[in-house]
């Protein structure tokens, strides 16, 4: 069990060590060398998208086809992350006393904005706007509960400055004849000061349902790997903290070269399974993106979007 104070301590303590850009370059070089051979079996033009959720599915159930998801359709649990994080933002801004109070106004404001300007902050606005009262309430309830679990897992007063909530997924496209996209999603990004004049570091916080798996440290390392690959100019995250509110547990991974290397191995293993699925027809081509919005939208709940192996439409 973890108390809010303990989890917060583990996030804001100064980084133990910071990897330089050369570590990210080595990870990038390794994947750039090894990935093309793995995806060579796919038809030309295919693309592969790797996410933490998919790697977890493959890890928990290595049977063929385990990484393939059902066709996408909006559901309350696909909205809870983006709406829940926005509700927490409202609490941090002093606009609401709790996520329970915030979710309704935040959702209403998003729908109003979409109806007025056509701009979809979260992507789910048109779907949500078309729902009846009961279904809307189900969405709000799911989001409020998710957000309240996160809200009570941390001591938010101790974050100076406040953490960045959500934000765009980290993404890296591996240069290969068949495009491979790695995607990483964190719920919080926290900048923590360094010790005794050392530079500040970035801590990623990932929130998951269920319980941590035995290899969760490697999985958390994947998030740091994608963040490190994303841009040569961005520093490698100092730490990733995984939160499992259902069990009130947390896992801390300080990022070292070994962690990045293990995460790279996880990616390669996952890719091998996905390519194998695609080759046997289990990874059917995706049907395109729901609502026409691009994959990896800025703050949408893309974790649930069909992240599949196989050919891109058309």
């Amino acid at each position: 069990m973890s108390t809010a104070a303990e989890v917060t301590d583990s996030i804001i303590r100064p980084p133990t060590a910071l990897l330089g850009p050369e570590a990210a370059a080595r990870a990038r070089q390794r994947l750039s060398q090894e990935v093309p051979a793995l995806v060579d079996r796919l038809p030309s033009g295919d693309q592969v998208v790797v996410s933490l959720a998919q790697l977890r599915r493959l890890g928990s159930d290595p049977t063929p086809g385990a990484g393939v998801e059902d066709p996408f359709a909006w559901k309350p649990r696909f909205v809870r992350r983006s709406l829940g994080l926005a509700a927490i933002g409202a609490c941090l801004d002093g606009r609401a006393r709790s996520p329970h109070e915030a979710v309704g106004p935040v959702a209403d404001r998003a729908v109003d904005e979409w109806e007025r300007s056509g701009w979809r902050t979260f992507h789910w606005e048109p779907w949500f706007a078309a729902l009846g009262g009961g279904a809307r309430a189900a969405v709000l309830a799911e989001s409020a509960t998710w957000a309240t679990q996160l809200w009570t897992s941390l001591d938010w007063r101790r974050f100076r400055p406040p953490p960045r909530l959500g934000g765009p997924d980290d993404q890296w496209a591996c240069p290969a004849p068949r495009t491979v996209h790695l995607k990483g999603r964190s719920e919080l990004r926290v900048v923590v000061p360094g010790d005794a004049g050392s530079p500040p570091g970035t801590v990623l916080v990932s929130v998951s349902g269920g319980s941590p798996r035995p290899d969760c440290e490697v999985e958390l390392g994947y998030l740091a790997l994608v963040a490190a690959l994303r841009s040569p100019s961005r520093p490698v995250p100092a730490r990733v903290v995984g939160l499992w509110p259902d069990t009130a547990r947390h896992v801390v991974v300080d990022i070292t070269e070994e962690v990045l290397d293990d995460a790279g191995t996880l990616v390669l293993g996952g890719l091998e399974a996905m390519v194998s699925d695609a080759a046997t027809g289990l990874g059917a081509p995706a049907d395109g993106e729901p609502d026409g919005h691009p994959a990896g939208g800025s703050t949408g709940d893309r974790r649930a979007v069909p992240v599949r192996t196989g050919a891109a439409p058309g």
């Binding site: 009262g133 279904a135 189900a138 309830a141 349902g209 069990t247």
Partner: protein, 350 residues
């Protein structure tokens, strides 16, 4: 009108309508002293019980008459150690990882515990067949969630089915309801409306500072991950992890009071005590059919009784569940037709 408080009940001495029996399909006879819908009242002298409502309802939940438990790491450790020792026979073989296909975890839920204690012996894996009572319970569950979250319910039937329609775990139940004969469907709708009206009339808005959360998933892993205690509570309020217990848990039931409901509350308290340094200070069952609220203050005795029952039940479940499937599947958290509750029958809540 004389009023007297007796524990969770308030009795008012005035005329009492007769209670002729069931009010809908599958609900069984109404409890004495409770006014069923669509009945002809017969006046007679005697006490009539009226459900608590508004602030009184919440006060009943908040003030149990006992000191709230304090955070006690030793208590939590002792409970966990007791459970670990009791469940040791179910632990994994060396080298077998949690969640692996070779040995999925035994998921212990309140429903499975009740089943294990009430009906020992082998049991078939599979879904519980829907009934009107189960459908009513699921609809009232989502309406309660709506009321807590938004503070209102529109048309209970439309809102209830609307909420179920966006949750694919209820697809089978919705299809089943769609096939109900007209008279049964009308009876179902009428009972849902009646119970929802009671909810709206009696449940006040919760202060946001209470941090209300509905359908909160909670779980505890034991025996190296070989056993998972899993629950999803209808309502939890209060901030967890404080030095003094601040969390209360409410379970909503649309049917009649049953003995195992108290055991369910103990199971919730146990999981929460394993998750956080302080257990909940109260666990309660709210009966939407009657408006009764049974509040159980959480004590060490309750927690240890729950731990005993959990170990015995888990061992019984393991003894009669095939190790390579059946109810030990972990196939993605899909709920079962009719229960509406993920994780109650061997799947892990998502």
């Amino acid at each position: 009108m004389a009023v007297m408080e007796t524990g969770t009940h308030r009795w008012e001495h005035c005329a009492i309508p007769a209670s002729p029996g069931g009010t809908g399909p599958g609900w069984g006879p109404a409890r004495t002293g409770v006014v069923p819908a669509a009945t002809t009242p017969v006046r007679r002298s005697g006490p009539i019980w009226t459900p608590l409502a508004g602030p009184e309802l919440l006060d009943r939940l908040r003030f149990t008459g006992r000191p709230r438990p304090v955070a006690d790491a030793e208590r939590a450790d002792s409970l966990r150690q007791f459970l670990e020792e009791g469940l040791e026979p179910l632990g994994r073989e060396p080298g077998v990882h949690e969640g692996s296909v070779a040995r999925p975890p035994l998921v212990v839920t309140k429903a499975r515990l009740t089943e294990a204690h009430s009906r020992p012996g082998p049991r078939a894996a599979g879904d519980r067949a829907p009934t009107p009572a189960i459908a009513c319970g699921i609809l009232i569950g989502v309406l309660f969630r709506q009321l807590i979250t938004t503070g209102s319910i529109g048309d209970p039937v439309a809102d209830g089915f609307g909420a179920l329609a966006v949750d694919d775990r209820h697809a089978d139940l919705l299809a089943w309801v769609g096939r109900l004969p007209d008279d049964q469907r009308r009876a179902l709708d009428a009972e849902v409306r009646r119970q929802a009206e009671g909810l709206v009339r009696r449940w006040p808005a919760l202060d946001p500072a209470w941090l209300p959360r509905t359908e909160e998933p909670m779980r505890a892993d034991l025996a190296g991950g070989a056993v998972v205690l899993a629950a999803r509570v209808d309502l939890a309020v209060g901030r967890p992890g404080l030095d003094v217990a601040s969390v209360a848990v409410v379970e909503v039931k649309s049917g009649a009071r049953r003995g195992e409901h108290r055991d369910d509350l103990g199971f919730y308290a146990l999981i929460e005590a394993l998750r956080h340094p302080a257990p909940p200070f109260a666990v309660a069952t709210y009966y939407t059919r009657t408006g009764e609220l049974d509040v159980e203050p959480v004590s060490d005795e309750l927690l240890w009784a729950a731990a005993d029952r959990t170990v015995a039940g888990a061992l019984a479940l393991a003894a009669c569940t095939p190790p390579d499937g059946g109810e030990r599947r972990v196939t993605g958290g899909r709920t079962l037709a009719g229960t509406g509750r993920p994780g109650e029958h061997g799947t892990i809540p998502g």
